[in-house]
Amino acid sequence: MNNRYLAIISLAVTTLLSTPLYAADLDVSDAWVAEAPPMAAVMAGYMTLHNKGKTGIKIFNVSSPEFKSAEIHEMTTDANGMMSMSPIPHLEIKAGKSVTLAPGGYHLMLYGPKTRYKQGDKIAFKFVLSDNTSMEVKAQVRKKVGHAMDHGHMDHEHMQHGDMPMHEGHEQMDHSMHNN
C-alpha cells in the first residue's frame, strides 16, 4: 500500500469520526421562520435545539441561501423597559440541555430575504458548529400568533398555538374572555 492510499484512508476515517459527531447530537425541532409583511427587510427564525450528547455544542455561524446574511440575536430588556436585540457571537447548547429560540428571547436574525417568503415555504439553514463541521436545518415559514410575546426562552410548549388556524384561536380567546 502506498502513501497516497494511506492518506486517503486516514482522511476517510477522520471524516467518518468527526463529521457526524456534533451534528448527530444536536436535535432540532419545530424550526420556523415568522412570515413578515411584504417589503420587510428582516425576518426572524425560531426553533428548539436539544443536545443529547455529552459535550457542549456551540453554533458559531448561521447562513441561508435565502437571505443576504444571518445572525443569532438575543432580546434583552433594560431597567427602563427598553428592549434591544443584539448579536451573540455563538449560541451554546450544554450537554443534555435544550435551548429554545422563541419570540422575546433568542432568534435567528435574517437580513435581506431574496424574495417574499410566505406561510408554508421551506427555508434551509447551515449551522457551523464548534467542532468545525456544519449541519443543515430546514425551517418552515408560518404566521406569528398573538400570544407570541407572553412566552420567553423557556416556555416552548405553548408555542404550538402557532399550528392552530386563526379562527380556532379566536373561539378560544372569546371563550376565555367570557370566563373573566
Binding site: P38, M43, M83, G104, A148, M173, D174
Partner: protein
C-alpha cells in the same frame, strides 16, 4: 418678617389649600375596578400637539385621535421580533373586539408609530401595517415631532451602531401599548409581555369605567 405678613401668609396658604381641595372635590375618581391589571390614569392626561403623516402620506395630528379610542405602539419595521408580536396582538385584539357583542361598536383605531423615520417612509409603513389589518394606521414623520410624543408618553428609543453597510442598525425601544381615550388623553399603559385577552378585557373594563 412682620407679624402682619406672617398672618397674611397663613391666610393665603390656607385659602389655596382650601381652593385646591374644593376644585378637586368632585373630580375624585371612582375606585379603579379590580379587574383592570394595566396601569390606569384615572383622570387621563392630554397628549401634546404633534404633526406626523400616515401611511397615505396624509397629515395626522392629535385631532385625529379625538372621537375614538386609540391603541398606540411605537416601533420600527426593521424589527422582526418584538414589533410583529405586538402588532399581531393588536390584530387579534382588533378582531376579538369586532366580534364582541357588547363593545364591538366602540369607535377605535390601531396606530403603529415609527421611531425610525429614516427607513420607515409612508410607503414602507403602508405595506407593513396593511399586512396586519387594512384598517391599521402607520405613522412616521420628522424626528422632533416623534420625540414630542415619545417624551411625553415615556416611550424610550435608541439606535444601535450601524453595521458594515450602514443599514443594519437596530433600534432599542420601549414595548408598551398605550391606550388613548376619545378626548386624546393617555388613559392606560399595557406593559409587555402582551396578552391579547388581557388587553381586550382591560380595554372593555376601562371603557366602562371612563363612561361612569
Amino acid at each position: 418678617m412682620k407679624r402682619s405678613q406672617v398672618i397674611l401668609l397663613i391666610i393665603v396658604g390656607g385659602l389655596s389649600l382650601w381652593l385646591g381641595l374644593w376644585l378637586s372635590r368632585d373630580k375624585a375618581p371612582a375606585p379603579i375596578p379590580e379587574n383592570i391589571s394595566s396601569t390606569l390614569l384615572p383622570q387621563g392626561r392630554l397628549l401634546p400637539e404633534f404633526h406626523l403623516v400616515n401611511q397615505e402620506n396624509q397629515p395626522f395630528s392629535r385631532d385625529d385621535l379625538v372621537g375614538k379610542w386609540s391603541f398606540l405602539f411605537f416601533g420600527y419595521t426593521h424589527c422582526p421580533d418584538v414589533c410583529p408580536a405586538a402588532l399581531t396582538t393588536m390584530q387579534w385584539a382588533w378582531q376579538i373586539l369586532g366580534n364582541n357583542k357588547t363593545h364591538q361598536n366602540i369607535p377605535r383605531q390601531m396606530v403603529f408609530i415609527s421611531v425610525d423615520p429614516r427607513r420607515d417612509t409612508p410607503e414602507v409603513m403602508k405595506s407593513y401595517v396593511k399586512y396586519f389589518d387594512p384598517s391599521f394606521i402607520g405613522l412616521t414623520g420628522e424626528l422632533p415631532e416623534i420625540d414630542a410624543l415619545t417624551r411625553n408618553l415615556g416611550i424610550l428609543y435608541a439606535y444601535t451602531p450601524e453595521g458594515k453597510d450602514g443599514k443594519n442598525y437596530s433600534v432599542s425601544h420601549s414595548g408598551q401599548i398605550l391606550l388613548i381615550d376619545p378626548k386624546a388623553n393617555l388613559r392606560a399603559v399595557f406593559s409587555p409581555p402582551h396578552e391579547v385577552d388581557k388587553i381586550v378585557g382591560n380595554f372593555i373594563s376601562i371603557v366602562d369605567y371612563v363612561k361612569e
